[in-house]
Amino acid sequence: MAKKVFQRPKYLKETVFHYCPGCGHSIIHRLVAEVLEELDIGERVIAVPPAGCAVLAYNYIDVDMGEAPHGRGAAVATGIKRVLPDRIVFTYQGDGDIAGIGTAETIHAANRGENITIIFVNNGVYGMTGGQMAPTTLIGQNSTTTPGGRDIGRDGAPLDLSQMLAIARGSVYIERTAVNSPKNIRRTKRAITKAFKTQMEGLGFSLVEILSPCPTNWKMSPVEAAGWIEEVMTKTFPLKVIKDEVGKRN
């Protein structure tokens, strides 16, 4: 009998993703579902999807889900986790959601050391609304609201939220990865696993920032988008462990 080497993860619903061709959300959803299964926490997890393309995560990831208003994921997750401290609580947020409208909620949740995990998907634009400038849009990058490119004098520089969160004492583990290559996808999965384990051990705030392609709004092919992450985006947002105090806090 043939051995099954690839199958739908237990916590991914049997449905077709609505995401655009080449979008990173489908990959990241799958990684999250795989990790929940491998850590055997899918039946005690509560997820908080954002406003944005990934609000529909509840149609795909088969766990309890409570939708947050735009940017408020970390506050909603705080409320859930404080009431049910033995459950695993994570938010899934885009860059506009977390680093724009939700900056305050995120920084203060990290500072309080809320024992939650954030999956932060950074594609450098507001995707669902049609490709406007995000806090993370690169200098010179075109968007529908920065025709001619983001100008540092007019629009400010890209905001490195993960770095800011690392300063907060309550944050324990923060890593930036990408899903533009098989190697980076494997690294991303390792990071997501470590982030959830950080929470399972009760150590405090964990976050994985994932550079993710948005070919539709970047006006690129999926292959070009993957290459652009490698060659351009990682110059501003280098892939690295930004903070790791897991050993120290244990």
């Binding site: 039946e43 408020r72 506050a75 404080r82 459950r87 695993i88 920084i107």
Partner: protein, 359 residues
């Protein structure tokens, strides 16, 4: 009921919440309601399962309440007018997601930063939904320390029963007043019937979704009608008010909360002078006790609405009466507290201007 305690209004709400099984409070400092936040901080700390969070903002506080409610807790937040404006986003989501929660608004003078004196300027905001979208919140208007205790209990019961946010609408005067209070029996939250839609991890059951997004307009329309049916049943089941000396009244004053306390004193004074004047005090501001007002209009053809605003509830009185009676208005906005003497003069003058003394 237990012993009688002498307590400040804001402390009564905090104590009544805890005794109603509330185990989650998130709030942000704003005058004149800090005593409630502070009381809750202490009360939650004394409970093994109590959670108190001083949030970084009003927005964060209401969103923490959303999370706590999703997780199954009886949850509360409180603020005063400008802070309640900030919470409206979350209140709209609570209504849309059919999540129970209690929100206390200790109203102060406004608009804008206004002042910290007692006011009733947030009536429209509270009774018309307040945030975006087609929804209502239950709005309760206590007028005494005892009623603060009872209505805080009711607020949690209504929130759970109808799966909806409930607003307790008071003001700085209500919050500061010291009065004797007897609390209803204490509820153990573990003994409350479990709510069906709680998010606690999908162990042994299908996963659940709590959301407010309905991209398909026909689904959103259905959701809106579902909420509306719920609001209609609230209107039938819970709207109420207090009548005082209305049976033979030729003029009935309508006022709520602190204004009703003042008006009651004024009604007593003019009764002593022989004027046939009564008081109707709405206890639920939404749903508005329209039927009771209409019923009184069989006897009294003149109504005087008194508010600590430029005139907001007066619109609901007119809607309830549908042109059947004469509706007059007297208001003092901006944090001015009228005296019973002042109101009795207003009543007296109106009574005679309308020739109500004539048979």
């Amino acid at each position: 009921m237990g012993e009688k305690l002498l307590m400040r209004g804001s402390h009564v709400i905090g104590e009544a919440a805890v005794r109603a099984g509330c185990r989650f409070y998130a709030g942000y400092p704003i005058t004149p309601q800090n005593e409630l936040t502070e009381y809750t901080a202490g009360a939650m700390a004394r409970l093994e399962d109590g959670v108190f969070i001083q949030a970084e903002s009003e927005l964060a506080a209401i969103n923490m309440v959303i999370g706590a409610s999703m997780a199954g807790a009886r949850a509360m937040t409180s603020s005063s007018s400008p802070g309640i404006s900030l919470k409206q986003e979350g209140i709209s989501y609570l209504a849309a997601q059919e999540l129970p929660a209690v929100i206390v608004n200790t109203m102060r003078g406004g608009p804008g930063l206004g002042n910290i004196a007692p006011s009733q300027g947030d009536y429209f905001q509270a009774t018309r939904g307040g945030g975006h979208g087609d929804y209502r919140t239950i709005v309760l208007a206590p007028a005494s320390g005892q009623e603060l205790a009872e209505l805080t209990r009711k607020a949690f019961e209504y929130a759970d029963k109808y799966m909806t946010p409930v607003v307790i609408l008071g003001d700085g005067m209500m919050g500061q007043m010291m009065e004797p209070v007897e609390f209803p029996d204490t509820i153990d939250p573990d003994e409350l019937p479990p709510r069906p839609s709680v998010l606690d991890g999908a162990g042994g059951r299908p996963s659940r979704i709590i959301k407010s997004l309905y991209l398909d307009p026909s689904m959103e329309e259905e959701h809106n009608w579902k909420l509306t049916r719920k609001y209609e049943s609230m209107a039938r089941q819970i709207s109420r008010g207090e009548e005082y000396l209305t049976a033979d009244a030729r003029l009935v004053v309508i006022a709520y909360g602190t204004a009703a306390r003042i008006a009651k004193g004024a009604v007593r004074r003019v009764r002593d002078m022989g004027l046939k004047v009564g008081l109707f005090r709405p206890i639920t501001l939404w749903p508005y006790p329209k039927r009771a007002v209409l019923e009184i209009s069989r006897v009294s053809k003149d109504f005087l609405v008194f508010e600590m605003s430029t005139g907001q509830m007066v619109e609901d009185v007119k809607l309830a009466l549908e042109g059947r009676s004469n509706v007059h208005f007297y208001g003092r906005p901006g944090g001015i507290i009228s005296t019973p003497d002042e109101i009795s003069k207003v009543i007296n003058s109106l009574y005679h201007r309308r020739h109500l003394e004539e048979d």
